[in-house]
Point group: C2
Chain length 319, copies 2
């Protein structure tokens, strides 16, 4: 059975044990707090599903699945310090609940714990598994760096933006998909197709995230709506509006409005340009390309359907 809930439960059940009664408690408490914060567990779910699709018992890929999830949570922890974010998943960020030093050091420990988990892979596969994991990690940092660099730039192009989210978000999903296939001994061609699936899924996922930041239902989204607009983040919506209506955008920004009015007026520009619909179409296109990437791959029909439905759900999600 391919069930997101079952895969997610396998992961959830093992995350607690990673920090239980480890010392110094001051190092591991922020880690337990971070890993206990919920989240979709999308990356380990993808890894376990990919392993199963190519015939491996998902239990045998659980170490790597946990490793990828711990890595993902490490990036969120450090990103929150860098972005000075107060809240994560409805709770105070670690550097607010504790302090910046705790967030930095606990994050470092999470990166090493992630590496330890990934390195539990069978010895014969370890070199290529480590190579994939470490290369991906370097790309994720590059993505976060570009994201920060964009804050000081007014000329970010759509291509640059897509490349940034590919690095910051997509490659880790792609890595999870490929690593599951790799552990199951899938042929190189299939591993690449799984990687491509994850990469396109990631683009759809992040564009949907951007859309929800402005158009989401606050009760479902879990974050304040409009944060990207307040912070003038160069998202797909922002870059398009700036390219097509630079004067109107400038006029709104020059008014130094309250957060509420700024969100309302910028959203009006997005609406008048029909950007939400255009964004949804692009998300749909990435999703269908993701599904199509698996066309030639030799996996059971149930697996193919599962990956297709997972991609479509990620693209239509409201939280």
């Amino acid at each position: 059975m391919y069930s997101t809930d079952i895969f997610a439960e396998m992961v959830e059940g093992r995350l607690d044990a990673l920090t239980a009664s480890r010392t110094p408690a001051t190092l591991f408490a922020p880690i337990a707090y971070t890993l206990d914060g919920g989240g979709k567990r999308l990356r380990p779910v993808l890894l376990l599903a990919a392993a199963k699709a190519f015939g491996l018992d998902p239990e045998k890929a659980l170490g790597q699945a946990l490793g990828i999830e711990v890595f993902h949570n490490f990036t969120l922890l450090h990103d929150d310090v860098m972005d000075n974010a107060d809240v994560r998943r409805g709770r105070p960020a670690v550097h607010r609940r504790w302090n910046a030093s705790a967030a930095i050091l606990s994050g470092d420990a999470m990166l090493t714990m992630a590496t330890q988990l990934v390195a539990e892979a069978p010895a014969g596969m370890l070199p290529e598994v480590m190579r994939l994991f470490n290369t991906t990690a370097m790309e994720v940092y590059a993505g976060q760096q570009l994201d920060m660099d964009f804050e000081d730039r007014e000329d970010v192009s759509l291509e640059e933006y897509i490349e940034m989210i590919r690095l910051k978000t997509s490659v880790l999903l792609a890595c999870a998909c490929r690593m599951g296939a790799m552990l199951a001994g899938a042929p190189e061609e299939s591993q690449r197709a799984m990687y491509r699936y994850g990469e396109l899924l990631g683009l759809a996922f992040q564009l949907q995230d951007d859309l929800l930041d402005t158009y989401g239902d606050p009760a479902l989204f879990g974050k304040e709506i409009g944060g990207d607009i307040i912070n003038e983040k160069k998202t797909w919506l922002w870059i398009n509006a700036m390219a097509r209506e630079p004067q109107r955008m400038r006029q709104v920004l020059d008014k130094k409005l309250t957060d509420y009015l700024k969100i309302r007026e910028i959203t009006e520009i997005y609406d008048s340009l029909s950007l939400p619909g255009e964004s949804r179409r692009l998300i749909g296109r990435y999703t269908e390309e993701a599904v199509a990437a698996l066309a030639g791959v030799d996996i059971p029909g149930a697996a193919r359907e599962y990956f297709a439905s997972l991609a479509r759900k990620a693209a239509e999600r409201s939280n």
Copy 2:
């Protein structure tokens, strides 16, 4: 030939290439700056010397030697953010020259780069090499955490202090020594002896560092003298003085003196208790235990002499 200079040059020559023309430049510039800061390169020197002592061409252990050095520099980079330190090796710390976000993210990338370099080890040895490296990394974080925890405590014992510096400093030297032997295929017994040598060398090294912080020659030491006293760091000197002359120590601290006078009066207490001499004897004891740890190990006489002289030099160094 066992020559610290030659081993250090092998490392120096390869460090630049790790960051040359890599993008985004904003991510790699702080890394290049950090790796270019000099330092003794003691850890990679130990790794290369250990590899050679057990018959491996040091060139074949260079990846792991670089990895350990990059890891060490990553810890310095993040420690400087956590400790709010302004200066490192006579230059502005990365978070001062750039900012905290740059220091955090570049440090993260250095940890992954270190792992990539260590993971270049021959496939057959990779599981145990990775295990040693990751276990050591977790211990180093635990040491840094204890160091921070001690700031808020008045009851730190000498045993706790020694355990903290063992974790924060010694285990990485020990890991370097053992990894060199491991890569050369040395027997388990010899690997353990090398580890023990590095561990004891590390204790001597750190106690000497503490001594130099108060008694060093400012022209040679490279840092302000007395920093530990100003920050009331629980060093071996401080803990001993507090245990033997708590009232005198309290009296000085309650006077809220200027930095200059605080250093002078606390140093006077240290002197009156003959703590410098006692510390030097303890350092000498650790050094000789380190040398003795190699007694039963089957390595050439030249290697044995080299390790002995390295330990004695580290214990007598003035910078």
